[in-house]
Amino acid sequence: MPTDPKTLLAKYQPKAVKPFNLDHQLCALRYSPDGKTLAAGSFEASVRRWDASANPFAEQSALKGHNGWVQRIAFHPDGKRLISADSWGQVTCWPFNEKDAKPTWSVADAHDGWVYSLAISKDGKLIASGGRDKTIRLTNPDDGKKLNVLNVGEHVLALAFHPDGKSLVSGDLKGTIKHWDLATGKVVRELDAKVMFLRDRIQDVGGVRSLEFSPDGATLFAGGSLPKSGGFVQGISLILSFDWASGKGTPFYKGATDNEGYVYDMAWHPGGFLIAITSGQPGQGKLFFQQPGDALPFYTVAIPNPHSLAVHPEGKRLVVAATNANSSGNGRAVGKNKEYPGNFSPLHVFDLPV
């Protein structure tokens, strides 16, 4: 039942808690199903994890064994396993609650190259990973064995399982969302998000960057942008909302300027609204809460350079992994000890009233 924005804001107004900094840049952030663990994939071939029940978060030892970027992680609904995927094509399963967790299984060549997307079905029976190799691999969560390979034909940037477990959707670089029937492994229809793609000069720009179902499965949200140009990439943030029954898509959220960039990550809050982050030109970035059916978010806050967000399963806390401000600049910028500095990841923490 739609509630008016003022009420929603009063109810869910987040309070920022002091952020803490991680020395490496992160690309994925998720809470475990019990909310006690926070984990993140990093640019440096590792999965970082924290005891999220501690205050502040207490970091545990990193999970190593990946290569390149650990682009995506996903917690298995059984609360015991964490799946991670990297940019060299490896998908690994970890017993993340163990102190010195070693992989339960690991498939080095699950994909040829970059795994862009990862999802686990609600019943925990299927892992889906999407790659730069233009395929989706369906994997058995117990042993990592390949169950099926679906040919998408384009870079598979986003994946989401329908809550009923019968369907999988993939979003690709060219803006096509494919609805796969899991029983047959075939595409039953395509949803049109082609506005999220632009061919600028010889560059393919944009794509569907994130996908999220409403818990009742009635709505599919697709996050990306309306790209204006390639190169340093300008695009107006965009979320399309698709009515699952009819397949019809309409704009749900549209940013104000083309500096705002992509909708990188979205998550459903148990209170019945969508949380999303956008990030574009360095320093630009927003976190916002929007209720389905509303034209505008009821809460927006600026955060520089957010890339990923994790919502506590009870909705009482929200963490956003970002890149630090002042992250960009041409030419030589040498730090205090004459070392060339990399960027780092502030984790912005928000407490929500429950």
């Binding site: 290569n67 720009v205 030419g331 500095p341």
Partner: protein, 422 residues
């Protein structure tokens, strides 16, 4: 032996004109040379591929996988054991035994507007004159070939036209004839209703008028006028270069995207003995979304570039053609908040091949993280010396004469990189 699409059957006269005012009136016709003979010609040429905006060295020639700044991509082996490149260059990797990589570039300018010109002019010491672009310089130093075409042709997206400023102080004659989207200039073709004789006739009349006019006046205008009309006539003669279709197989190998089509046309221009062919690709300035950006762009360079190397090699043309592919700088190891890389002139790479250049080597290296050059640093001045040397020109012994002012052809503070040269 490969069949060239250029050998049109009719009296294909190659009329040789002196472009630069010497031996005025000397013209002779040469029958279209048999293809095998063109292989032996000594005239050196240059293919200059310009990737405008800054290709990322970390996503191309100097990958550092699994390091702090290495990014998501893997490195792959090449046809030369020990040399690895980014997985985004699979086809060029197979051609590595023809190529030389320079990983030790360290240049001065991190801006596009100034940087592009400085690189292409060789960033010489300031002498109060505007130096020519590399194409203008090579045109002057090597002269014209047998093509009858202008010595400096530039194939680029969007607009074309004659670009005199590339000639710098050498003068507008050494500017570039830009073919917008590879198309011939507008109004190139004489209308079908006009015969060759009529065309020659009217131009003869015009020349008489001009000669009389210039009799007691400054000669520069008439010379420049004559130059452009001659160029028009020559282009008209070589209309086949624009009109003949390409083999479907070649179109497939090079790709039908802009850069693919333009590289294929560049090959044809090189086969037609054009001295300096420049091909531009724009949009490489991936400050944001660098990895999807370069991930999209680099393979689209890889494909036609590898095809070109393969074709030049098969035609024996790598013995005479100097190949260069570069940008105005590289990209920062540091990944910014837009998941991008910014400008990095401190340590970057280029690829070069062909006449006078060592095959299958890497010159220079960066440190483990790819942040700075760990070997001797090379500025663009070093490269100009090296490239001139490869073309048979000793940059230390050759000078321009700018109306009495002697000028070095390359920055006199630098010298050729021996390891790059044969």
């Amino acid at each position: 032996m490969l069949h060239s699409n250029l050998c049109t059957p009719i009296d294909h006269q190659l009329s040789r004109r002196q472009w630069f005012g010497t031996a005025a009136g000397a013209a002779f016709t040469v029958a279209a040379p048999a293809f095998a003979e063109t292989v032996k010609k000594k005239h050196k040429q240059v293919l200059f591929v310009w990737l405008d905006g800054g290709m990322s060295q970390l996503e191309s020639w100097d990958p550092k996988p699994n390091t702090q700044f290495g990014g998501p991509f893997r490195a792959i082996q090449t046809s030369v054991p020990g040399i690895h490149v980014s997985e985004l260059l699979p086809k060029s990797a197979k051609m590595m035994h023809h190529l030389a990589l320079v990983r030790s570039l360290c240049t001065q300018d991190n801006s596009h507007s100034a940087g592009v010109e400085r690189i292409q002019r060789g960033d010489p010491k300031n002498r109060g004159v505007t130096y020519p672009f590399f194409g203008g310089a090579v045109s002057k130093l090597l002269g014209n070939g047998d093509s009858g075409l202008p010595p400096y042709i530039w194939i680029k997206p969007m607009n074309g036209g004659f670009i005199p400023k590339d000639g710098g102080f050498l003068g507008p004659k050494f500017g570039a004839l830009a073919l917008g989207d590879g198309k011939p200039p507008e109004n190139l073709l004489r209308p079908a209703t006009m015969s060759v004789e009529e065309d020659l006739d009217r131009n003869e009349l015009r020349n008489l008028v001009d000669k009389k006019y210039a009799d007691r006046r400054r000669k520069e205008n008439i010379e420049a006028t004559k130059y452009v009309f001659d160029m028009a006539a020559q282009l008209q003669k070589r209309r086949d270069l624009f009109e003949a279709p390409f083999a479907a197989k070649d179109q497939e190998r090079y790709g039908t995207h802009d850069l693919g089509r333009h590289m294929l046309l560049a090959r044809r221009m090189l086969e037609a003995d054009v001295t300096f062919v420049k091909v531009n690709s724009y949009g490489w300035d991936t400050h944001g979304d660098n990895f999807n950006g370069q991930g999209s762009l680099v393979p689209q360079f890889d494909r036609p570039f590898a095809a070109m190397i393969e074709d030049l090699h098969e035609r024996g043309m790598l013995d005479n053609v100097l190949v260069i592919a570069m940008s105005e700088f590289g990209r920062t190891p540091r990944i910014n908040g837009h998941i991008g890389r910014d400008h990095w002139p401190e340590a970057w790479s280029l690829v070069t091949a062909g006449t006078g250049i060592q095959k299958g080597v890497v010159v220079g290296k960066t440190n483990d993280k790819g942040t700075f050059v760990a070997s001797e640093e090379h500025d663009i001045g070093h490269m100009f010396h090296t490239w001139f040397k490869a073309l048979g020109i000793d940059a230390k012994a050759t000078e321009y004469d700018n109306e009495g002012q002697p000028l070095p052809i390359a920055h006199e503070g630098f010298k050729a990189v021996k390891e790059l040269l044969v």
